[in-house]
């Protein structure tokens, strides 16, 4: 009964910034647009570190598309930007002013529930006028095909829907991208994992402790030896009335080192450098986690198949190069370009050309080169080759390297401010751990004072989250429960830990026929839907049904 299927000109899957940008652009061009969001509210499934950029070189920024965005949906304009190189108590701080302001029109801290929820209201109003609209609590679970061709989407809550274009903006764990064969969950080294705590701040405390006005904010980045040699770093952003404090690590490093992400976050939270900022009363509003694609490796050069165009995290469009961390702005640009591509293709009478046009636009507008810089491809990757990486690491840590860094002195700051250099940093221990540690040891000075912060235990963090559990209908299935296949999830999952019984994954020994097997069991109830276990364990991974699962209030 194919004829009974509903049809919309455009279906946008996911109401994050990428989906919102696409939907707004489609609606402005009079395209009948339906937006489908699986959360109870837009933003309830979304987490980001929390810095949203508007780039001067970008053809679209979020406030172009949504006038009033900065007043209504974002938190503070980030006016200062620092990186702290840490070795024990020794800290050497560089002002990243130049790097931060390079190509930056503005950068605001954001909390996703507030931001996406506002965007969704705007989008619903705009798309409703086209005959479409925005629906929450509906989960798109796959692609509708006629023969081999993608013609629409299938859903848990609704009958299949056909469309002339499908914008897949369904995030880092995009089920559409997997269904279309454009992305996979195979290699841990293609991903980062971020965890974040949102800490409540008393009225006026941000202004006082960070020495900023009400309309100013600060971004702090942290790297060095405080993360137990796991490759990655930390951040702290000032929101209106809270701090976003988080860590982002290469997933392969977390997996190989059996690191506990929540403990690495706690290392940052309890470092004496943060003591004065956080204050004596630490109130954690929310703990959250998210997988982040490494665009250098996975930004899809041709993110479309038939009528399906992927934007944002779903297409791997997340730029993380050293201290440059930009995701949402690229999703916004890509969303608008995908919409533009469809509008162009339609006006020329061939909507099937939208995908190709989208790829051309991503290249012509310079988006692809930001996501996969040519100089990284040639130089950075070389630095990741085993022997080369070890050699560079050894040199940096040697007398020669240390002397060189000491000789650089404060000129090192200017090197950190070079977008060119940062774009070709190899993703090795050298960049994340060795250089910052040596810099701190050679150039830094010790911080005074002690931290009184006591981060909550994992079970309290889980207990404070809101869930609507889909009883009897777990959304993740363990395909292989042997410890060898899936054991990494016990530590890498941000809501599981070794010797903690209340998380998603736990390991146990099961005896049968006189032999003892080391196995893993899974309880999806505390799942935060980050997707880590899809990569590090052997699972059938899907999102919960519409409206079910975790509901972030901060995001």
């Amino acid at each position: 009964m194919t004829d009974d299927y509903e049809h919309y000109e455009a279906v946008v899957v996911g109401a994050g910034p990428g989906g919102a940008a696409a939907a707004a652009t489609l609606a402005r061009n009079g395209i009948e647009t339906l937006v489908l969001e699986r959360g109870v509210d837009a933003g309830s499934k979304n987490v980001s570190g929390g810095l949203l950029y508007a780039e001067e070189s970008s053809p679209y920024t979020i406030d172009d598309l949504f006038p009033g965005f900065r007043e209504e949906a974002s938190d503070r304009e980030v006016t200062e930007h620092y990186i702290h190189n840490i070795a024990g108590r020794n800290v050497k701080t560089f002002d990243l002013h130049d790097l931060h302001h390079h190509d930056t029109e503005w950068a605001d801290s954001v909390l996703r529930r507030k931001m996406d929820s506002w965007l969704a209201r705007e989008v619903h109003e705009m798309t409703r006028e086209t005959g479409g609209g925005l629906l929450t609590e509906v989960r798109v679970n796959g692609l509708l095909r006629e023969g081999a061709e993608i013609v629409g989407v299938t859903l848990d809550e609704l009958d299949p829907i056909k469309a002339d274009v499908i914008i897949g903006a369904d995030g880092v764990n995009s089920e559409l991208a997997r269904d279309a064969g454009l992305m996979d969950w195979e290699e841990p080294d293609e991903w980062f994992q971020g965890v974040k705590a949102v800490a409540q701040m008393p009225e006026g405390a941000i202004e006082e402790r960070f020495d900023v006005d009400e309309d100013e904010g600060v971004a702090h980045l942290f790297s060095g030896d405080l993360f137990e040699n796991v490759r990655g770093g930390g951040f702290l952003y000032t929101n209106d009335q809270s701090l976003s404090i988080g860590t982002v690590f290469h997933l392969d490093s977390i997996a190989d080192q059996r690191a506990e992400p929540q403990e690495l976050l706690d290392n940052l939270l309890t470092h004496p450098l943060l003591a004065d900022w956080i204050g004596d009363e630490y109130t954690e509003l929310e703990y959250s986690a998210k997988l982040v694609p490494d665009s250098k490796k996975v930004a899809h050069p041709s993110p479309y198949r038939d009528r399906l165009l992927l934007v944002g995290d779903a297409a791997g469009q997340m730029q993380a190069q050293g201290p440059i961390i930009k995701g949402m702005n690229h999703a916004v640009t890509a969303g608008a370009l995908a919409a533009e591509a469809f509008v162009d293709a339609k006006s020329r009478g061939d909507t099937s050309a939208a995908g190709e046009r989208y790829v051309t636009k991503l290249e012509n507008e310079g988006v692809m080169d930001k996501l996969r810089p040519t100089r990284y491809r040639t130089l950075g990757r070389l630095g990741e080759v085993g022997p080369v990486a070890s050699a560079m690491n050894a040199v940096t840590d040697s007398v020669v390297g240390r002397t060189a860094i000491s000789a650089l002195g404060d000129r090192a700051e200017s090197l950190f401010n070079s977008p060119f250099l940062m774009g070709m940093l190899p993703d090795t221990r050298m960049g994340y751990v060795t250089v910052p540690t040596v810099v701190a040891e050679q150039l830094g000075s010790p911080v005074e004072g002690e931290s009184t912060v006591e981060p909550p235990e994992l079970d309290d963090r889980i207990g404070d989250l809101t869930y609507d559990v889909d009883e009897g209908n777990p959304h993740i299935e363990l395909r292989d429960n042997s410890f060898a296949a899936s054991g990494t999830a016990v530590t890498a999952c941000p809501v599981s830990a070794k010797d903690f019984g209340g998380g998603c994954y736990r390991d146990e020994y099961v005896g049968s026929n006189g032999t003892e097997e080391h196995v893993v069991s899974l309880d999806t109830q505390p799942c935060v839907e980050c997707g880590t276990c899809a990569v590090v364990a052997d699972t059938n991974w899907t999102h919960p049904r519409g409206g079910k699962g975790v509901e972030y209030e901060q995001g």
Partner: protein, 298 residues
């Protein structure tokens, strides 16, 4: 498609709302009046019809003026469009028969005759389940009870419904009836919206009806100068407006004789409770010992 939904105000029996005196009698004055919970299912069935097929939903009740707030609740929560209250002293103390006579007359007086009349399954206070079917008898429509899902075929002028046979959730039959028809929604009734278009319309209606209910609320506000009689979506009819003889309605028109009332005895508190400190390991062991035989199935 015009649907009429019947509702009644009942004491709010929810924990924390309801109040009983020492003898176990309901304290009517201390217990708020709310829309009969089962009537929500009837309203949801009517709303589903409106979303899928268009048209309007009228909500009708017989009772004192205080029921205006019950009607407002139906407007706010389940999106009723027009509200009707049949109210005067002559209608008071009616049994189900006299109520059915009055309500059926109210329905017949509507300018736009309904395609569907919906009632809920039993009221939370009377629990008879009579008023709906007796109203249907007065209206002489086909009656479909225990409806759990509903589809209207307006081309054919019929409804198709799934209903529980004898109210049994294990046994479901599909029936068809010509319109206009009278539907009693079962508490198991679940509206389904499998099309995006329907969910979008539902979302539009939510916005519209919230505004409308707030507007009606301004008329109901004691401090307001607005006269509720002026509100165009609310109509109140007394027995003269309905052209009903007082001898056939209210207490005088009620053939039911209540032989007596037996209060339901309070449950005797025979069980003993022992407080256990969860940090006291010895005590926890005794709890486990106590429960072990039950766990073993003894």
């Amino acid at each position: 498609m015009h649907s009429v939904v019947l509702t009644k105000g009942v004491p709010d029996f929810r924990e924390g709302q309801v109040s009983f005196d020492e003898d176990g009698h309901l304290e009517r004055g201390k217990t708020p009046t709310v829309m009969n919970p089962n009537d929500r299912h009837a309203l949801r069935a009517a709303l589903q019809t409106k979303v899928r097929k268009g048209g309007t939903v009228s909500l009708m009740s017989m009772g004192p003026p205080g029921y205006m707030e019950v009607l407002q609740e139906g407007m706010r929560d389940v999106y009723a469009d027009d509200l009707y209250l049949l109210s005067d002293r002559e209608m008071g103390a009616a049994d189900t028969w006299a109520t059915a006579m009055t309500v059926a007359t109210g329905i017949q007086k509507l300018d736009d005759p309904p395609d569907l009349v919906f009632a809920g399954f039993k009221t939370a206070d009377g629990e008879t389940g009579h008023t709906g079917p007796q109203t249907e008898w007065c209206l002489d429509m086909p009656l479909v009870t225990h409806v759990i899902s509903l589809d209207i075929d307006d081309d054919e002028g019929v409804l198709r419904a799934k209903r529980l046979v004898e109210g049994d959730v294990e046994e479901i039959e599909t029936v068809e009836a010509p319109l206009p028809a009278f539907v009693v929604a079962d508490p198991e009734f679940e509206p389904t919206y499998r099309k995006a278009e329907h969910r979008l319309k539902h979302k539009d209606l939510r916005e519209q009806t919230r505004e409308r209910a707030a507007e009606f609320g301004e008329y109901l506000d004691d401090d307001s100068d607005l006269d509720v009689a002026e509100y165009d979506r609310f109509t109140m009819w007394d027995h003269t407006a309905l052209n009903l003889d007082p001898d056939f309605i209210g207490l005088d028109g009620s053939p039911t004789i209540v032989a007596g009332v037996d209060p339901i005895p309070k449950a005797p508190s025979e069980r003993e409770a022992t407080m256990v400190d969860p940090d006291d390991e010895g005590a926890m062991e005794r709890v486990v010992d106590e429960l072990a035989p039950y766990a073993a199935g003894d």
